[in-house]
Symmetry: C2
Subunit: 106 residues, 2 copies
DNA sequence: TTAATACGCAACTATATGGTTGCTAAATTA
DNA sequence: TAATTTAGCAACCATATAGTTGCGTATTAA
């Protein structure tokens, strides 16, 4: 649904969330909530909230194991953002002539 | 500066803002604030706020002309978002094996 | 069995966000 | 000159967001 793309954009809009996501992408293994909060100078609960938002956006997956919840990044949903942007890429070089168009028609 | 990318992500995080931006990209001429608010069922002030944020992000440029302020889209800053995403594109297909990595090392 | 660890849930705080209305000022039209 | 149009600014409101602390619970280790 169209709602997913909103969650995606929201998820990556926050710099802390982008950092967490980045750390998870670079990590060689899945990381627990506590492990993440240790390297982020933030309370465990703060991390939990961010992880929940990233998870809702599909950017982070989780696997419970005993008392641990191991998180790992899943960059696939970013394909959607990429698709959104591709439309505008055709205007990257030839933009800024809209005003001219207006002025000409005056 | 690193602050610009934050403004960019913030700007495109809001669905209304993406719609306004899209309308400006498709427009054949620059549009005044009033013209935009007419096709968006939102108060002029609401549009003004969104335009300000888009302008701060560099996605919308403006040209004052008398009592009018003509707005036009500038998609160039999106290149930055594209650059951010390109790093993760290499993981789009071969992700989801982090947990396995963890389990193996147990 | 007791102690420690990892975590979720709830409550709370401060600030940001998306939106509105009302007023004022400048530019244009009649 | 008087009326209309375009827009900025300020105040306001409701809700969302980013973060915290405290507490209870399940799992693991001693």
């Amino acid at each position: 649904m169209q709602d997913n793309i909103n969650k995606l954009f929201k998820a990556i809009a926050d710099p802390t969330r982008r950092e967490i996501f980045h750390a998870l992408v670079l990590a060689t293994s899945a990381l627990s909530i506590t492990q993440i909060s240790n390297q982020f100078d933030m309370s465990r609960q703060g991390v939990t909230k961010h992880i929940k938002i990233l998870n809702d956006a599909g950017l982070v997956q989780m696997q419970e194991e005993g008392r641990n919840r191991f998180c790992y990044a899943d960059p696939k949903p970013l394909k959607e953002v990429n698709k959104w942007m591709q439309f505008y890429s055709q205007f990257w070089d030839d933009s800024l002539d809209k005003l001219g168009g207006y002025l000409d028609s005056k």
